[in-house]
């Protein structure tokens, strides 16, 4: 475990989580959630759990984002809070 990489990635993780729930434009929030998932995958690969890392990169950052954007195409893209 490279601890300086670990701490940097965990810091970006918290920043992305706060940004994803506080941005009013829902498409931006979803893209930031995708970036959050990708950073989480990097943290896991760095903690030697490679299988979980690439599953999260494919499923968490890929399919979840596609599902969210498909929902957004059928509903509205602005949030009040």
């Amino acid at each position: 475990m490279i601890w300086i990489l670990d701490i940097t990635m965990l810091f970006f993780l918290v920043v992305c989580a706060i940004a994803a729930i506080s941005i009013k434009d829902l498409l931006s929030a979803i893209i930031i959630l995708s970036a959050y998932s990708l950073i989480m995958a990097i943290v896991w690969v760095e903690m030697h759990s490679v299988d979980v890392g690439f599953t999260e990169a494919a499923v968490g950052a890929g399919i979840t984002t596609v599902l969210f954007i498909a929902t957004l195409a059928r509903t509205e893209g602005r949030s009040e809070d």
Partner: protein, 151 residues
Amino acid sequence: MSGIIDIVYAEYNYWIYVTLMMIGFYAMIAKKNLIKKIIGANIFQTAIFLFYISLSDITDGTAPILVGEHGAEHAEHAADVIYTNPVPHCLILTAIVVAVSTTAVALALIIRIYQEYGSLEEDVILAARRELQPEFSEHARQKSVAEVGEQ
């Protein structure tokens, strides 16, 4: 005091996991938009996954892939290798798939709610329901009166 700093430093993964979990929990409770609630649920789930993966990691451990399987030249080296615990990895691999499935079901329900009420804001949906509710209860009352009348 140095004991507290040692605990914070040695287990910083757990502090980040608790922070992320509370961020997700706050979004699930306080945000009015339904998609924001689902984003909060996703953050909550991945925070718990982070806890499990942190739990399985060992100092100086390596990925749980067999060392020295092919050829005997690494065979004496293989006994010294420390692997991280693979059991939480298997649990979380299953949990990631379940998380995607629950997200998909929730988003399908959100599309249906939007078709019915024309909004994703929770207060607008609740106000629309309250407007519809007297009509429903009046209909139910008339139906029960008619049933009693028939008897």
